[in-house]
Amino acid sequence: MSDGAAMGIGQIDYDGLIPNNVGLAEDQRVRKALETWHPGYIDWWKSMGPEGFQGSSVYLRTAVGVGAEGWAKFGFVRMPEYRWGILLAPKVEGRTIPFGAHKGQPAWQDVPGEYRAMLRRLLVIQGDTEPASVEQQRHLGATAPSLYDMRNLFQVNVEEGRHLWAMVYLLQKYFGRDGREEAEELLRRRSGDQDSPRMLGAFNERTPDWLSFFMFTFFTDRDGKMQLAALAQSGFDPLSRTCRFMLTEEAHHMFVGETGVARVIQRTAEAMNEAGIDDPYDIERIRRLGVIDLPTIQKKANLHFSLTLDLFGNEISTNAANAFNAGLKGRYREDKLTDDHQLTASTYPVLRLRDGAIIKDEVPALSALNMRLRDDYVEDTMLGIGRWNRVLERAGIDFRMTLPHVAFNRRIGEFSAVHTDTAGAVLSAEAWIRQQMAMLPSDDDNQFIASLMQPSWQPGRYAGWIAPPRHGIDNMPGDFEYVRIEN
């Protein structure tokens, strides 16, 4: 019994090839387009999805309804047989465009002609990130520190796959031939490929180890959450509904990242206490315990945080202003904000680089939307950092994780022109080269982490560098076999 059925709307149709709650059975044109696209997607999944585990049964969650509760059903499934589908949050009758120049008008059920190109670009950029992270993470199964973590990885992967489906549905339903071509292109680009890379820089970086994976899901997927939250406000109703549902899935990714890093920190703290090491910087001794020292974890956080900030684009952005004014992309939790939702007369403080110094500048609020979303992101991230620090606090370790300054290690935006340290002090090129190793993971750090990446596939067993979780998935017992490995 799905929640959608209980509400009488948004029921998921599992009868056809493509599960959906958008009436695909009656929509010949889009069904045909999606069915044409489907084999290419499966090929992509098989060649670029999790490597070595396509035949394994994984205890995965599948959406069975789109309401606020009871939408997930757990069961064993082989990943290529996962029921990817088109799921939109229920339609809200009488919804109006919540912001921008068209505020108060009925939400669009079709794409307005004048915004077609802008909308398509937003969808393609969002869509491109979904398969990209699957590609980045495809080698990680082989070194999973437990079946629990392996299952979480695969859950994240299949949901990224579903998010791709969500974007492809919108492209094919609303953007005609161009949309179909873009949908094909989404399957053709490859993360890190020299000739056809993914569109955004952070999605072409390697995810070489599990600490990177946890950091990625904590930092970079959180950018995804912010973007989805902003798009969930869209005046283009199908996009809004799609993103609202995607957000419920994205929450799981945050959970994987935040608890993943927390468990690494916890294991390090435990090992230090067991060995009687007080000094977190006694790196050699700590590493000999087979755990990752806290300064290295901090360096990984510095790296992933700074790479992710680049995804927010330029602080001052005409594109962001246009998208907001057009009613296509709102702010984070636009519906909870209490201003005029048009921003034509207000300003927003932006950190800028002026004559080599970082200053705060009041700029027209419409131009500063990227900055604002980034600020919201940093705030949201701080909450997670606080929870990591509580682990250290409880363990009595004298070390606290911090976020580097937003100007640190940037390649896009105001600060791409300078080097700074993690506190935001501007560094000369020579000083940057000297200090870089203390702020970002060195080859040595990465090699050490890589040396710990040994598989631990016994049910209930965990690699020595990570603590077990407090609860199992779906309340399963500690020794539950989340992945039945078959090749």
Binding site: A101, A117, N325
Partner: protein
Amino acid sequence: MIDFQTSPDRYRHWKLSFDGAVATLAMDVDPAGGLMGGYELKLNSYDLSVDIELADAVQRLRFEHPEVRTVVLRSAKENVFCAGANIRMLAGASHGHKVNFCKFTNETRLAIEDASENSGQRYLAAISGSAAGGGYELAVTADYVMLIDDRRSGVSLPELPLLAVLPGTGGLTRLTDKRKVRRDLADVFCTTEEGVRGKRAVQWRLVDEVVPPSSWEAKVAERARDLAAKSDRDGQRGVALTPLQRQFSDDGVTYPHVQVAIDRAGRQANVTIQGPAELPADLRGIHDAGSSFWPLAMARELDDALLHLRLNEPAVGLIVFRTSGDPAQVLAADSLLEQYQSDWLVREIRLLLKRVMKRVDMTARSLIALIEPSSCFAGTLAELVFAADRSVMFAGTGAGDNRGPATLHLSALNFSAYPMGNGLSRLANRFYGEPDSLIASAERIGDTLSAEDAEALGLVTFAYDETDWDDEVRLILEERASFSPDALTGLEANLRFAGPETMETRIFGRLTAWQNWIFLRPNAVGEAGSLKRYGSGVRPDFNPERV
């Protein structure tokens, strides 16, 4: 004051490098290096300061680097080739500045094409990242346009959908006339903000080739070598374009061979060109003289003077050309230019003179040539007479004047070396409806022509003797100064160019004229217009009426 003189050691926006026959001209715009302040030149967007350096680089490549047969135009920035003219600069600039900026940009682009077509210095555009608007317009000045196929980089002319103006520095014209893009596809391209990338860009003839990143650098180098192999350019030792010796004063500027004296009350600039004092005997002498060889020195000075008047003296509505010197020496200089025309340096000098004369044609001021006793309007300098809107020649000699009568001389160069934008020599353009007059003039090459001869041949507008000269000249100048400057600009731009259209005349006459109209319309420049609202996120309000 806007200064058009620069040199590579002072560039802020371009990087020149050399590898044998291949030079690389890499755009690396300094965001803080704008001419006016108040805007940042992000993403390799440009203003006049960027174009002044480009023009300088193109010129120096021709004179200082005879060994360079291919110039690779590319970006030194990641992910962007060039974003075109800076919008905030355009939004803040006066109408006059916009018009002059675009004109100079157009002239520089045509100079690139001139190098490719006539100097054996072929341009190759290697687009990696986005080439938008003026960035794409710049790229298609090249003979061969390559686009990296990284699934992100593309070419676009987003002016209309994004800014409600035109791709007005040659973009529309080069699409149809040079790239020969089908008109309906050109329509789609120019109304699609994000533009076109990958194979479709080749199918639509927007670029010549797309290349994946893995083979990009190798392919660019290969194409550059291929182009170089086809060139007939054969020089060894370049000629340094030494800094111009100029003295600015409140009322003008003085160069060794060109004097500009401004009469502010009369709103006129008196431009006097000195003929050559001495000339080398042969080709070797020309090379040894280098940038002090009179035709080259004079051309550079006149060019700079014209640009100075255009940008820094907008209220001067009238340019009065005079010359001073020995016409036989000017004809001797012409003979050198004719005799050694197959030499790379002489070829460059002739081509530069051609471009400077075109700059005269394109200058939106009334042009009057006064042919007086002891002037030297001969051959190359006589082009100024034929470029002028009116020419007046002094007939006979003045009482007590021992200088002898005014003369006019034609040389072979008047018939072949300096075609206008419409492809005709100034004389053929002048005699568009009178082929016999053109033949009659050609028969008088080298002759000393009196005012009566010149008037009879139709080479001057009027000839006046001592009795009438002062009054008639004064009346012409005063009357001219009383007319509407706008109407005169329109009148002159129409009458100067007779007959056939070329891509060049279409760029200036059709595209630029429409663009300049749009630049005055509220839909672009009004408080709620596209340029004013650009970047604010707020949509412009258009007046829906089609005019």
